[in-house]
Amino acid sequence: MQLTIPIINFSAFYSEIVICAFALVILMAQVLAKPSQNSLGYVAFIGVLIALVINVYVPSAMGTQAVESTFSGLWVLDNYSRFFKLIFLVGTGLTILISIKYIKQEAMPPGEYYAMLLMATLGMMIMASGADLMPIFLGIELMSISLYVLTGYARTRLISNEAALKYFLLGSFATGFLLYGIALLYGATGTTRIQGIFAFISQNTNNHHIILIGMALLVIGFGFKLAAVPFHMWTPDVYEGAPAPITAFMSAGPKAAAFAAFLRVFLEALPAMHDQWVMILWWLAVLTMSVGNIIALVQDNIKRMLAYSSIAHAGYVLVGFVAGGQLGTPGILFYMLAYTLMNIGAFAIITYLGGTNEARITVKDYAGLGYQYPIAAVALSLFLFSLAGIPPTAGFMGKFYLFSAAIDAGYLGLAIIGVLNSVVSVYFYLKVTVSLYMKSPEMQSTPGNVASLPAVFAPMLMVAVLISACGVLGLGILPEKYITLVQSSQLMLP
């Protein structure tokens, strides 16, 4: 028997190689070189920057319709995956900037932290580029396991440990569903290749029961990763317990990655089941938006509140998924980029205002901070208004995109539920600005204790905030070139 080794087209995964190499170098450097606290963070950031540049400009500039495929079709580099990788890398880069001071202030070992962060990013990139269920699964696992570790990274904090354990247990349970789904699809179609599954279904039109069950299990598996209701139970605890920069990271990149794989599998492999899954997703979208927003109304802990808000935002994105069509997928791409910027921006400020050991964390603790930290408060308000979907911000433009997709596709009801949900969400986003500007520090829950707590000044964090703020306003006021980009990054449907 002769083993043929397929020709590997390295140009399809240069940026992954960079991320992987930097992760390993950082890991080794921590052991061998004993570098200073900050330097590893800068190294990781440079790695992300290089990967970002490669992703956008190599092999050809993003937006041109080049598709590279390698590993005999297991891996594909198209505009779709490149746009998602842009989102991941922006998210990771901003997270690193936020983390540099935080890691030092909380006395956490930096080596594993940045290595894990880059490994999670690598996992997400594999998810976006996988053209087969196996690499997608591999990517999900790489991402998730890194995240389990990062969630519990504040070892001395009980709540962090609890969150990590919960995340791990529930996450592995959900992975089981995903794997079952993949197994059933493989059993029914004889392949895990996305194109193969599509080809099989279109050739054999009868008896799709097993495929349908497999599809339902995949919905559960992906639904867990993107925190769709009713698979969202882990989200609030994990977001609350994880270190704030990790919460920022988790709420943006991994969610986008889950959508990247979800969309690719369902739109490219299972378009024949469109009628069935669109119905499931319709309900999923409605539930996710409504439950997320309504429960967020009563949260006091700001991290927990943003956890529910992030659930709700997954719901808005699902609206775009249901709508599909010419506007749906680009809408999702646009929204995920906007969401990454505004959410990480908000978490950056929360990290900043939180102080040592994240002591300032409830909405009440924020009373009067608008006058103590005017710039941070203005930035936080900007991000929150963007999350609420008020123009002229990225959040508005994104919602505009998604809801117009829904209306174009005839889902008027879904669009109305969506916009009413954003009215509900305004209430809890406003609650924070009320606290910041309209209450005096005496109204803080534990007077004297938290009020005098100084925010830890971190120059790199401020850079991250500045980048996010410019992004939020740029996407909101001059979105033309991003719209062109997302439209050329659509999934090429078979």
Partner: protein, 513 residues
């Protein structure tokens, strides 16, 4: 360069932004410098907006001073600005009242002056944008942007229940406008189906003939957004809270300009875009308008807080505006447009006056006052003129507006107009009764004995309003002429469809026979 090519509307709209940038560079402690910068910015904006009034060509209904450049081409979104006879007057009202509003809070706001002035200027940008925008997307952006500064003005510098009022204001307005957004998007795709082009250009939608069923739902969605803003009964409950809690300048802007955004919306969107639905909805709107007029007047009568009384009187006055507008004849619509301006002037002035009293005594309860005429004679005179203007005494602006509206309303429906007359009577009762209790009689409260009469600054911001109150009252033609062609065209747009519908009705009758 031709004068028509200067983007005068954009300059006017964004000039306050320049003031914001300047103020941002200043130290927050230099209150007077910040106040002067803000005031001079608003004055400059008013001066810059003057050419819009004087250069306006009243002989055409076409949009003027048009600026139209692509913004987001892929969606057919343009940066399209322009004014017609109706919006031009509202732009002037906005620049005029904004300058006075800044002047009025010189001493009332002492904390975070910097943020306050920035909010006021940002608010002006939003309001001017709403009146100038001729692109749905642009319109919506301005419409929502304006919520944020107003929310902060009420919430930070307002009265004791300010947080409740601010949040209520924000959520109420937003719930109406998001449904309007859905309607706008639906129209956008209908436009594409009908004509094959993606565009948000408002003027193109005026020519889109929609089926009656669609018109009904679209009208309803826009109605909700604007009715909340106006506010029409029963969507008015945010108004008393917001008005009473807002600081004086906030109330002036809120009553003077923000409410007009609702009525303007009806004129710009509902009437020309959904003519058939408009005619269908006339009885319904008449009903709500008349209820608003009478209910607002009765509730005003029962208030013991002057500011609350003025707030409820707005519900009543805006009822007239709606009544005149949906009379759908020249008198009605012209009356309702001039009444928008009138209400902005006289209610704005009333809020300013309440502000003066509040600054002196820190109370707004009618029972705390009495006999002020003896200590503040000048104040008493000007207050009386403003009250007369609000009541509609001949020779002042209110009379012109109300008269035209009632002529229009009587032409459209005698029963509704007759009930609306009741509001006129009640208007005189609650205002004069309040005036009597505050100004006449013996001085019952010792604290009132040494109140200062109006200061120079107070005279400076009240007298300009009085000038216009008298001007509109004596020579309304100056302003009516400006809008005449526009209004005539608007009525043509609504009625063209009515005659069309009628002829088709006759045609079907004929075939049936």
């Amino acid at each position: 360069m031709n004068i028509a090519q200067i983007p005068i509307l954009s300059i006017t709209t964004y000039l306050p932004l320049a003031g914001i940038v300047l103020i941002c560079c200043m130290s927050g402690k230099r209150h007077d410098l910040i106040r002067w910068t803000a005031f001079l910015t608003t004055v400059a904006t008013f001066v810059v907006s003057l050419p819009i009034y004087f250069g306006f060509d009243a002989s055409t209904w076409q949009m003027q001073f048009v600026e139209n450049v692509p913004w987001i081409e892929r969606f057919g979104i343009n940066y399209h600005m322009g004014v017609d006879g109706i919006s031009m007057l509202l732009v002037m009202l906005t620049t005029f009242l904004s300058a006075l509003a800044v002047l009025s809070t010189w001493s009332a706001v002492k904390e975070s002056v910097k943020a306050y002035m920035i909010s006021l200027l940002l608010l002006e940008v939003g309001m001017l944008g709403v009146f100038c925008a001729l692109d749905f997307f642009l319109f919506y952006v301005f419409w929502e942007v304006m919520l944020i500064p107003m929310y902060f003005i009420i919430g930070i510098w307002g009265g004791p229940r300010r947080i409740y009022a601010a949040v209520k204001f924000f959520i109420y307005t937003m719930s109406g406008s998001v449904l309007m957004l859905v309607a706008i998007l639906s129209l956008y795709f209908m436009m594409h189906k009908a004509t094959g082009q993606y565009t948000f250009d408002i003027l193109k939608y005026h020519e889109l003939n929609l089926p009656a069923g669609t018109q009904f739902w679209m009208f309803l969605a826009f109605f909700l957004a604007f009715a909340i803003k106006v506010p029409m009964f029963p969507f008015h409950t945010w108004l008393p809270d917001a008005h009473v809690e807002a600081p004086t300048a906030g109330s002036v802007i809120l009553a003077g300009v923000l409410l007009k955004m609702g009525t303007y919306g009806f004129l710009r969107f509902n009437l020309p875009m959904f003519p058939q639905a408009t005619i269908q909805f006339v009885p319904f709107i008449f009903c709500l308008a008349v209820i608003g007029i009478v209910y607002g007047a009765f509730v005003s009568l029962a208030q013991d807080d002057i500011k609350k009384m003025v707030a409820y009187s707005s519900v009543s006055h805006l009822g007239y505006v709606m009544l005149g507008m949906f009379a759908l004849n020249v008198e009605g619509i012209e009356g309702s447009t001039i009444q928008m301006i009138n209400h902005g002037l006289s209610t704005g002035a009333l809020f300013l006056i309440v502000g003066m009293l509040y600054e002196r005594r820190h109370t707004r309860l009618i029972s705390e006052y009495g006999g002020l005429m003896k200590v503040m004679p000048l104040f008493a005179t000007l207050f009386l003129v403003v009250c007369f203007s609000s009541i509609g005494v001949p020779g002042l602006n209110g009379f012109i507006g109300e008269l035209l509206i009632l002529i229009g309303a009587f032409k459209a429906s005698v029963p509704f107009a007759s009930v609306a007359m009741l509001g006129l009577l009640l208007g005189a009762v609650y205002l004069l009764w309040m005036y009597k209790r505050v100004m006449y009689g013996p001085i019952t409260n010792e604290e009132n004995r040494h109140l200062k009469d109006m200061t120079v600054r107070e005279i400076a911001y009240l007298v300009p309003i009085l000038v216009f109150i008298v001007w509109i009252g004596v020579a309304p033609k100056t302003f009516l002429n400006k809008m005449h062609t526009t209004v005539a065209h608007l009525i043509e747009q609504v009625n063209a469809d009515k005659t069309l519908a009628k002829t088709t009705d006759y045609a079907t009758d004929h075939t049936n026979n």
